[in-house]
Symmetry: C2
Subunit: 451 residues, 2 copies
């Protein structure tokens, strides 16, 4: 059932646009989902995309705009008048509308808001714009079905028919008291099953999950996925009902969060994507490469200080193992920090820091021992002295332990200080482990071999 | 609003269990959400967890069982009789029931299924067990509200009241023809707004998204999040309605998918978690470390072949830069492969493989040039010859290009062959880049310096 943007489709469309065949183009998009149309527009030349947006009904284009790639949307909005944008915004749900208006300049925001005819809609959007980024308020929409506890089921049904026309999907019906404070919920199902003359106060469910409007969006995502909620009401400090967050917005939060962690671990500045320009991709990659480079340059200086070892024909081979030491230190560090980052995200990091570090030492000893066995076999096959093998094995073991401790300690400490622990993965951890690893390696080897 | 398992809570609970104070314990759990109770049980000793499960009502424990950590659930199920398990299963939705029964041995499955009294429920579960893992069928539940196009709105409401009692949340009402084929959908809202004597055929929406029962679960997740669906009906090849998948199951699929990619990139075998035992953690980490070790040992052999360079006092410093070459090659390779893996997941990898490789070369040239400038400054400060700096810079540039090409090429090829491209991230890419990097570095440096 999934629609795919094919080259044939695009060629056909481009021809129709050139020939200005409006009816044929409208027919082409008639049965397409707005998410699919957005995909098509992402592929078109910019002038063509503008042409399509101006051609289609605002009911459809408003949905398309919310689905478009941010870069392309920005360009398209820059080519629409404030009035045209206001028309699109009027068709959107308040949360989508606020997101898109938020991308405009302050001056442009003011002009678009003035051009919106529905004053309630405009007031809702202005309220949503006032909440901080990454808060529950920035995620929520004002569209919801609300009933007062004093209403009857019959009266309720009549009013819901009116309210529901503005709400695309009825998740839950929220029950409030006279002061607009959230006191419970109802499902449409409950209402259908109840008798017409019953009071809402008699039938509503007084257990209702809610989040504060200032709650962090990742926390909201955690709560909704833990309790399998499809919508959650948002309240202020006095428990007054302000809006609701739906699960589709949470799916986006979870995806962004996962993408961010993945990109940090891979040494990419957030929001770099495969279809970005060469310039954007360089900007997203170069800083991390430079960070890594400085680590390695530190290692160069350390090795310079140990260069007399090269004059010793028996031990100069120590230098053949420096990439190995750095690689193992890096791999161990990334493993440890990744486990902590995922553990923190899933609330699995319990108990004291000491017990966790001790666990890492135990794991490192076992891993180190087994890697040492392989290295000992390898070096004896190559004809190295046993003492040489021992020096490498013992320093490797120390390097593994230190790398594991750094990989565990740093993200936990960052998290405790309110900094994103995912920063401590990837190039950051491999860079510091490069320097420490090489330093420890040569120091211990020198000690053991007596050079 | 989020509940947290505190030490005080656990101490208090343990005391109550020791004193066998059943009523007090029940009261303690009275107001807790089953997801919270599952968290408490994850923290308890095993005997205590069993005690709680046997104490609480099966209506509550069935929900708790679905939320428990898999390891703990397995142990608990092993301590319940087939009859007790059957009682829990009877209270569950069919999809959860099938997941849990699927974890039991074949013999145990048979005995539990025989002990389930509701034959329809049992038949549904057996059907769900027959679908392949990671297919839409394995995700779907049989609970849905279905109406025939020939019904009237009034008759429909009556029947829905009956059907809905078994369905915890009514997402959509699916409309089928006489042959049970899916032909459309309706929302409860549409039904409430319609007149009692209208026919369903007159009011239903004949556009309905659906997925085939054999569709891959990640594809289902993509479709549902792209189209912002909260539930999607599942059909067989003849379009006969079989079940429905809800968004909360999709949230789990997305999370698992993201975790898997992240762990592969970090060099962890899937499903390793922070609270696993030392043994499990070693098992999840060691294989990747050994893989990386072999790459580095390959680099050792390559360096042995270039060891005469060490005798040259001017050029022996080339060996100080081997960790740098390996680190840059590794970082570039991970960046490139991560961008491809994320791009493939989000359908951003379009155009030919050649144009993508060309883009990587362009990015590599820019990154390489800038890193070379830093290296040239660094080496001249340390007092190295300009020709030495040039040799390092030019070989670094070549290494960056090769690493970027490997990082781009391998995941794309894996994906085309139906293999998970995420396998090509992390240790795999750094290992191969270690070997290639060092080889290219010394070969080019030798050529340039004429040694």
């Amino acid at each position: 059932m999934a629609f795919e943007v094919t080259n044939d489709f695009l060629d056909n469309l481009t021809e129709l646009i050139e020939a200005n065949k409006k009816i044929a183009i409208k027919a082409l998009f008639e049965d397409l989902h707005f998410a699919d149309i957005a995909e098509v527009l992402d592929e078109l030349d910019f002038d063509e995309a503008i042409y399509i947006i101006k051609l289609l009904d605002s009911e459809k284009t408003s949905e398309i705009l919310t689905e478009l790639d941010e870069d392309i949307r920005e360009k398209i909005l820059a080519n629409l008048s404030s009035k045209e944008i206001a028309r699109e915004i009027s068709e959107m749900d308040t949360d989508d509308a606020a997101d898109i208006i938020g991308e405009l300049s302050k001056e442009r925001q003011r002009r678009v808001m003035n051009a919106i005819k529905d004053e309630d809609h405009a007031a809702d959007i202005i309220e949503l714009l006032s909440y901080e980024d990454n808060s529950a308020g920035s995620l929520m929409g004002k569209e919801l079905v609300k009933v007062y506890e004093t209403w009857t089921v019959g009266g309720c049904m009549r009013r819901i028919r009116a309210q529901a026309s503005e709400v695309s999907r009825v998740h839950s019906i929220y029950v409030v008291d006279k002061q607009e404070r959230l006191i419970g919920r109802l499902s449409l199902k409950d209402l259908i099953v109840a008798k017409n003359d019953q009071k809402i106060a008699e039938i509503y469910i007084n257990k209702v999950d809610s989040v504060n409007v200032n709650e962090d969006d990742e926390e909201v995502a955690k709560i909704m996925s833990k309790y399998d909620l499809e919508a959650i009401p948002v309240v202020d400090d006095d428990n007054v009902l302000l809006g609701r967050i739906t699960i589709d917005d949470i799916v986006d939060v979870l995806k962004e969060e996962a993408d961010k962690d993945y990109q940090l671990a891979a040494g990419l500045t957030q929001d770099v994507e495969a279809d970005d320009t060469v310039y954007e991709l360089v900007k997203g990659r170069l800083p991390w490469l430079i960070l890594g480079l400085f680590g390695s340059l530190g290692a160069v200086i350390i090795m310079q200080n140990f260069q007399t070892i090269m004059e010793n024909p028996e031990y100069k081979a120590l230098f053949f193992f420096t990439p190995l030491i750095a690689a193992v230190a890096g791999n161990v560090g990334v493993q440890s920090s990744a486990i902590i980052v995922q553990g923190l995200a899933n609330d699995l990091i319990k108990g004291s820091l000491w017990s966790r570090l001790l666990k890492e030492v135990a794991i490192s000893l076992i891993n180190g021992l087994l890697l040492s066995v392989i290295i000992t076999i390898f070096t004896s096959v190559l004809g190295f002295h046993f003492s040489f093998s021992m020096a490498i094995s013992i320093s490797l073991m120390s390097v593994i332990i230190i790398a594991a401790l750094i990989g565990t300690f740093v993200p936990i400490v960052l998290d405790k200080r309110g900094i994103d622990p995912a920063l401590a993965t990837g190039p950051f951890i491999t860079t510091s482990n490069d320097i420490f690893g090489i330093l420890i390696y040569f120091s211990i080897a020198k000690l053991i071999l007596g050079i």
